[in-house]
Amino acid sequence: MLKYIARRLLHLIPVLLIITIILFAMLQIMPGDPVNAYLGIGSNATVEQQQQIREMLGLDQPVHIQYLKWLGRSLTGDFGTSYKFRKPVADVIGTYIWNSFYLNIVAMFFAFLIAIPVGIKSAVKKYGLFDNFWTVFSLTGVSMPSFFFALILIFFVAIPSKWLPLNGMRTTIFLAKGYDSFGQEVLDVLKHMILPVTVVTISSLASLTRYVRNSVIEVINQDYIRTARSKGLSEKVVIYKHAFRNALLPIVTLLGMYIPSLFGGSILLETVFIWPGIGHVLFTSIGDRDYSMLMAANTFYAILMLAGNLLADVSYAFVDPRVRVK
């Protein structure tokens, strides 16, 4: 098993290199000038100064040299300085990414918690009232843009309630003057989380229930389930012991795939809820041509995606002995 993981890890190195080369090339192809991000739009800097900044940022060098320098620095853990924030990229990303993570992990917990029983029940009573309800719910959930749902919640739930915060992650006055205790802070953040978590949960719930349902349906039609039933086992045992464990396989894969998205932020949702997450920061970095931010963040996501894949495969091997044999 360890050998398998080690081999997979080794394979990741060339993949990652190729990804970074493609990313770097894509940034170079983009029109626009990163010196602008540095100076801000409408600056009065002279052309000589713009050239000076270009040299300082190393943007005057040939592309391959720029790439190699970036690679060299990154390997030592230095991802450069954000042109816009004037801070080390790692610090900027570090600040925002955790805010996105808190939101996503809570939402993911609820999504899986609800999706698994709902999916199983829908599969067992296929085309029943319960199944039909969740089918309609999923379709609606998938079709409705999350920012629209967010606005509906703000206008029809948060405003009339007079208790739920409209947006933000913390209460303004606490942010300015600090919390009295850690417990107070946790409660405050949780209160602000209610609406965004609802939106994220419902939008991921929609597809997740379908996955679970379909995967259970597939398993239920297998011969060994018929065998189990004909042995006279109770329906409960058949479903939860025989069917569910097998149906878990694709869900485990799904879980692995979800890991990168935990650290990703939704641009629209974060904008509407003014959640200080990473999504909106990266989106504006594109407009600003903040190369060092974009390279670092995209590489980070690539690593996460690869790690998620690996994790899915490894856990697959744990759940399914047949994979291990190969």
Partner: protein
């Protein structure tokens, strides 16, 4: 309080999606809609001289770089303006008055200005503000390693070129005569020199700890931990969430009586709800009529003032068909600007058109505008026949397919447009109707994102000169001095990274611009600017599209809050109070 002349904000794009405006008003008007008469007790004695109250201001977002020499967003600029002072600052009327400076006098030849400084100014750590700090602040701007955006402040000063090139060890542009007297020396006697003396003053003992000429990195490194002599100090900055400022206890004077200011970052889609639900107390520069009427109905106070700036179409004067004056004039005659403004800016709520059409290149509040100037402008009233005749004259004749040709080449306009842009989405169909079908012009619309358009017309304009014929952008002008035109129409500023985006070159205009900037007396400068405006108007170098109105919406607890286009909410805090 030095701001760059032209701030082309990304915000403009975002904002234009919500654009509105209001009928032209000369000055700021406060319409207070605090209905019930029972509330007229605000005349209660207010003798307390202690700052009090909290004001929560909703803004888009500050990035946390509060270094006056290096910040790059207008939102960070708000904080900078609260924390720092310059020698001089603008008052409500837009005129300069002393801030740290007590008085000043010009030398005989008009090239030097000597400022006598107030002796009671201290930085927020208690250290006195002296001439030495002023010299230090300008030394950083002139430094060869300076990478901020305000180098144009020192460019016209004596000794800058030598110091920047490393040929001299000292910068003679700004000298300390004694502890509280500082002298600015300029290469030429120009009217516009004075504004360059107002740059924010940084404490040398704080920002200059590790500074050595040729190495400004240590100055640049101080971003969020700003220290100045201004009325407020930053006591908390939370990225993406807020900036919390408190009244500087060491600030002398009876002004700035609001004790705490919180800049809360809000989103355009919900900011009005935040205001009406009490989450924020002030939204500045609002343009959406729906938001304004909502605030009006909810009993909020409203200030309105003309925007200092406008949205405009610029044409490529160097390459393509628009290089020909007649083609530009034909396009102008067949562009129904009034139809656009009257429909786009119509506010059904008040039955008013909330923007004006203008034909001169100045901001609505510039001192260059007088009746003589307005009378001399050609208004390019919509006239398709005249436009056709102009194109015929220029040699562009209608071909068999209905499109105009000259020397076998079709008359093609390459429009550099932004996608999902409300104004352009209204303008382009109009152009297709009048220019396309009406005149027989082939329109090619390229949808480019904001930064790419800037790349075409500014950053990389030399390489892209053949890629566009016209573009739309909006500009904000932070001075009433029409000198702001200088870099946008002077031929020295054609090229990559520079402001003459229409690539317009006219020796006569160059000469007039050079002449006008040196005239000290505003009244004498006016006719020269009028002549420039007339040439630009006749040659249809730029088509201003709209000049709209901004609204500040705020809670009634904020009183004596007077804003205008050159006196924004930060400046207006000087006289404002919170009455709970």
């Amino acid at each position: 309080m030095k701001k760059s002349l032209v701030l082309l904000l990304c915000l403009v794009m975002v904002a234009s999606a919500f654009l509105a405006g209001c009928s032209p008003k000369e000055d700021a008007v406060t319409e207070t809609t605090t209905a019930p008469a029972s509330e007229a007790t605000t005349e209660a004695p207010m003798v307390e001289a202690e700052p009090s109250g909290t004001l929560v201001v909703g803004i888009t977002e500050a990035s946390g770089n509060f270094n006056p020499h290096y910040y790059s967003s207008a939102y960070d600029g708000y904080v900078v303006d609260m924390v720092f002072e310059g020698l001089i600052a603008r008052n409500f009327e837009g005129e300069y008055e002393g801030s740290v400076a007590d008085s000043w006098e010009y030398s005989e030849d008009g090239k030097s200005i000597t400022f006598n400084m107030k002796k009671d100014r201290v930085f927020s750590d208690g250290q006195p503000l002296t001439a030495n700090d002023v010299v230090f602040s300008y030394l950083v701007l002139a430094d060869p390693s300076y990478t901020g955006r305000y180098s144009s402040t020192v460019k016209d000063m004596v000794g800058y070129d030598e110091y920047y090139a490393g040929e001299s060890d000292t910068f003679s542009g700004v000298e300390a005569i004694d502890d509280y007297t500082v002298k600015f020396n300029f290469k030429e006697a120009l009217r516009v020199n004075f504004a360059n003396c107002g740059s924010a003053i940084l404490p040398a003992h704080y920002y200059g700890k590790d500074f050595a000429p040729g190495n400004t990195a240590s100055v640049e490194a101080i971003t969020t931990d700003a220290m100045g002599s201004g009325p407020y100090v930053v006591s908390q900055f939370k990225e993406k969430e807020l900036v919390y400022l408190e009244r500087n206890p060491l600030y002398v004077g009876d002004d700035y009586m609001v004790k705490e200011i919180i800049l809360k970052f809000v989103d355009q889609t919900t900011d009005i709800v935040e205001l009406t639900s009490g989450g924020v107390d002030l939204l500045a520069g609002v343009i959406d009529p729906k938001k304004i009427s909502e605030a009006r109905n909810a009993g909020f106070s409203i200030n309105s003032y003309n925007r200092s700036g406008y949205g405009y179409i610029k044409t490529n004067c160097e390459a393509g068909p628009t290089a020909d004056v007649k083609v530009r004039q034909a396009l102008y005659y067949s562009f129904n600007v009034k139809e656009f403004v009257n429909s786009y800016y119509y506010d059904a709520d008040t039955d008013q058109v909330l923007a004006v059409t203008q034909y001169h290149p100045f901001s609505q509040i510039s001192w260059a505008i007088d009746d003589a100037l307005l009378d001399s402008m050609i208004e390019y009233d919509f006239d398709l026949d005249k436009a056709k005749a102009l194109l015929d004259e220029a040699g562009w004749l209608v071909g068999a397919d209905g499109i105009r040709y000259k020397d076998g080449q079709p008359l093609e306009l390459k429009i550099a447009a932004m996608p999902d842009h409300d104004i352009l989405a209204t303008l382009i169909p109009m152009w297709e109707r009048d220019w396309g079908q009406g005149l027989g012009v082939k329109l090619t619309v390229a949808y480019l994102e904001f930064n790419t358009i800037l790349d075409y017309v500014i950053y990389n304009s030399d390489a892209n000169v053949d890629n566009w014929s016209l573009f739309f952008l909006a500009t904000s002008i932070t001075t009433p001095d029409p000198h702001s035109l200088y870099t946008t129409f002077h031929s020295d500023y054609i090229g990559s990274g520079m402001d003459n985006t229409s690539r317009y070159s006219n020796p006569k205009v160059d000469e007039l611009l050079d002449q006008a900037k040196a005239i000290m007396d505003i009244e004498e400068a006016k006719p020269v600017y009028a002549e420039i405006a007339k040439i630009l108007n006749e040659e249809a170098v730029m088509m201003p599209v709209y000049a709209n109105t901004y609204f500040d919406l705020y809670a009634t607890k904020l009183v004596d809050f007077k804003t205008s286009s050159l006196y924004n909410w930060v400046s207006a805090l000087k006289d404002a109070k919170i009455v709970e």
